[in-house]
């Protein structure tokens, strides 16, 4: 058994934002075991105060460079709830396709670029360009597909412009939708290749189980990425649903000293959000092709290994492609036309939610009689996962010590665990930093 270990990972790499891993073990006693989040709050809720309802989503979409679609959708949906706006079936379907595109886009990035290096024993994706060029090429092809997929519906995938309160500001033509359908069908070989790659790397996924509560959106019709009630499922299969309006009764935010991000908890000490949580809550609503993919990859509900979140993400990519094909067929059958935006029927307070790649996302706003925002609240999924990561650490570190793992092995195991959650801790700056050589 390992009796001494000192791990201090300052700004863990291959996650979105900054987080630290600190573990101190002396004479077999765990003195410190922490997942620390040092990011500064960004006060988006204050930025939206005093803004007209038509501007709010354009601001909150900037919360994240990856989940900009999700933040736009959650923001617009919350505004529509607050203003009593009902959108058309066509707008609903287009938004569902857009949601699929964002999830697939982010999952491809995470699985291929951020996680695959760990499973392939590489320090980053860059060595894989030489050792596994076809895998990297496949990843980039899928990334491009997802960008085009989302751009067609959203106008652009980064901070989309077409999703507005009341519906869609613009819609694709049936010809463009038919072309998107062709592109999605043409991507099936790349999906198959992705499944083969993940299957080959799956034996390297660490074996670790910690039963916890899993929370995500769910409804009776589909997988619940765009809409639903809050659903909680426990490892024994106990499932409970809550209205989205009661989201604060589920999230129960609280603060801890080691994190600038708030923690959350519901029925158990912590809960997980994200692809694995959705999979555990909504397995029955996956399309058959996604269920087959899950079976091929050894993923079955209720899975309590957090490392399998990445595998669940890959299953969701398959689901998003095939479910989008279904929705596109429905739209091609009915035809698509630009519709007038639905108008507000009242001004007040409203909360709503969507599933973003990292889990369930809540937005809430209050508007005065002129449609000016008086206040807002956003609870992002990564914050909901921090507490669960900490509890995973608490369970995993003793197991690693008992298994006589070295500091390096422990550091890798803990780093991989955090990466499995695909945390998007906060947006940071992205400026280039260069030196002229010519």
């Amino acid at each position: 058994m390992t009796s001494t270990a000192h791990i201090d990972v300052h700004h863990l790499t291959r996650v979105e934002g900054h987080g630290n891993i600190v573990v101190n073990v002396s004479d077999g006693a765990i003195e410190k075991c922490e997942w620390q989040v040092p990011e500064a709050p960004r006060f988006f809720e204050s930025m939206v105060r005093g803004r007209h309802y038509s501007e709010v989503a354009r601001i909150t979409s900037r919360i994240c460079g990856i989940c900009a679609v999700g933040h736009t959708l959650a923001s617009v949906k919350a505004t529509e709830t607050a203003l009593g706006i009902e959108i058309s079936e066509q707008s609903w379907k287009l938004r569902e396709i857009l949601k699929h595109a964002e999830n697939a886009d982010s999952h491809v990035l995470h699985a291929y670029i951020l996680v695959a290096p760990d499973l392939a024993g590489a320090p980053s994706v860059f060595p894989l360009v030489e050792t596994m060029p076809e895998v990297v090429a496949c990843a980039l092809r899928l990334k491009r597909l997802c960008h085009e997929w989302g751009s067609l519906i959203g106008g652009r995938t980064t901070h989309p412009t077409m999703v507005v309160p009341g519906g869609m500001a613009s819609v694709p033509t049936t010809k463009e939708l038919a072309e998107l359908k062709d592109k999605l069908i043409a991507a099936v070989p790349d999906l198959q290749a992705t499944l083969e790659t993940v299957k080959a790397l799956a034996p390297n996924v660490p074996a670790f189980d910690r039963p916890t509560e899993y929370i995500g959106l769910a409804n009776d019709e589909n997988y619940g990425l765009y809409d639903g009630e809050i659903s909680s499922i426990l490892p024994d299969g106990t499932q409970q649903r809550y209205p989205v309006a009661d989201y604060k009764l589920v999230t129960n935010e609280f603060v801890v000293a080691q994190s600038t991000a708030k923690y959350t908890k519901n029925k158990t000490d912590s809960y997980a959000a994200g692809a694995l949580a959705r999979f555990n809550n909504n397995y029955d609503k996956l399309v058959p092709e996604a269920k087959e993919a899950a079976e091929a990859l050894g993923l079955a509900p209720i899975c309590t290994n957090p490392y399998m979140n990445t595998v669940a993400q890959v299953v969701e990519v398959v689901h998003s492609v095939y479910d989008s094909l279904r929705i596109i067929d429905e739209l091609l059958e009915t035809g698509v036309e630009l519709e007038p935006l639905a108008e507000p029927t009242r001004y007040g307070k409203g909360a709503n939610s969507v599933e973003v790649p990292r889990g369930i996302l809540f937005h809430e706003y209050e508007y005065d009689a002129d449609g000016i925002c008086q206040g807002g609240n956003c609870i992002i999924p990564t914050n909901q996962n921090h507490n669960n990561i900490q509890h995973d650490f608490n369970a995993l570190v003793p197991e690693l010590l008992e298994a006589d793992k070295s500091e390096e092995e422990m550091e890798l195991a803990l780093s991989m665990l955090v990466r499995a959650y695909d945390p998007c801790i906060s947006c940071s700056t992205h400026a280039l930093d260069v030196k002229f050589v010519r």
Binding site: R62, F126, V129, H147, S428, H430, A431, L432, D433, V434
Partner: protein
């Protein structure tokens, strides 16, 4: 097609100068002969424009050049080496140059690419506006970028 691409985190002050340039193009209807793209902080989506159909691509991004804040330089990727220590690439950790490098390694056709690097003054998170020094020069950056792109 020629593309003018703005990169940056819109909530981090001068980090978003590239995005503000694109906003300026749209606000004044200057996108004639090229397409203006706001990629925000998602440099990975540059791969969508790395192909035979792209005649030229100019990326506008905040760049730590060691110059006076507000100064800009237009350079090609082969003229510089990144100073970032990257263990991977993501929307937060990567940069445009790394995306181009990875795509080239994966066999992508890389069109003529240049970067307009603008030295930032302040990049504090939670700041929606550019610093005054950069904000007043956005029209100048925009015109210089367009002139360069159309001659590439």
């Amino acid at each position: 097609m020629r593309y003018l691409v703005g990169l940056g985190n819109f909530t981090a002050g001068d980090d978003a100068v590239g995005v503000h340039v694109i906003d300026h193009v749209w606000a004044h209807g200057l996108d004639r002969g090229f397409s203006a793209i706001d990629l925000g902080a998602n440099a990975m989506n540059l791969v969508s424009y790395l192909n035979e159909e792209t005649e030229a691509l100019l990326v506008v991004d905040a760049t730590q050049l060691g110059r006076e804040p507000g100064e800009y330089v237009i350079f090609t990727p082969d003229q510089v080496e990144t100073q970032k220590e990257l263990a991977g690439i993501s929307t937060h950790e990567g940069d445009a140059l790394k995306v181009v490098e990875m795509a080239a390694g994966a066999g992508y056709t890389i069109p003529p690419i240049a970067v307009m690097g603008i030295e930032p003054l302040a990049m504090a998170c939670g700041t929606l506006e550019l610093s005054e020094r950069l904000a007043e020069r956005v029209p100048e950056y925009t015109q210089a970028a367009i002139d360069y792109l159309l001659k590439m």
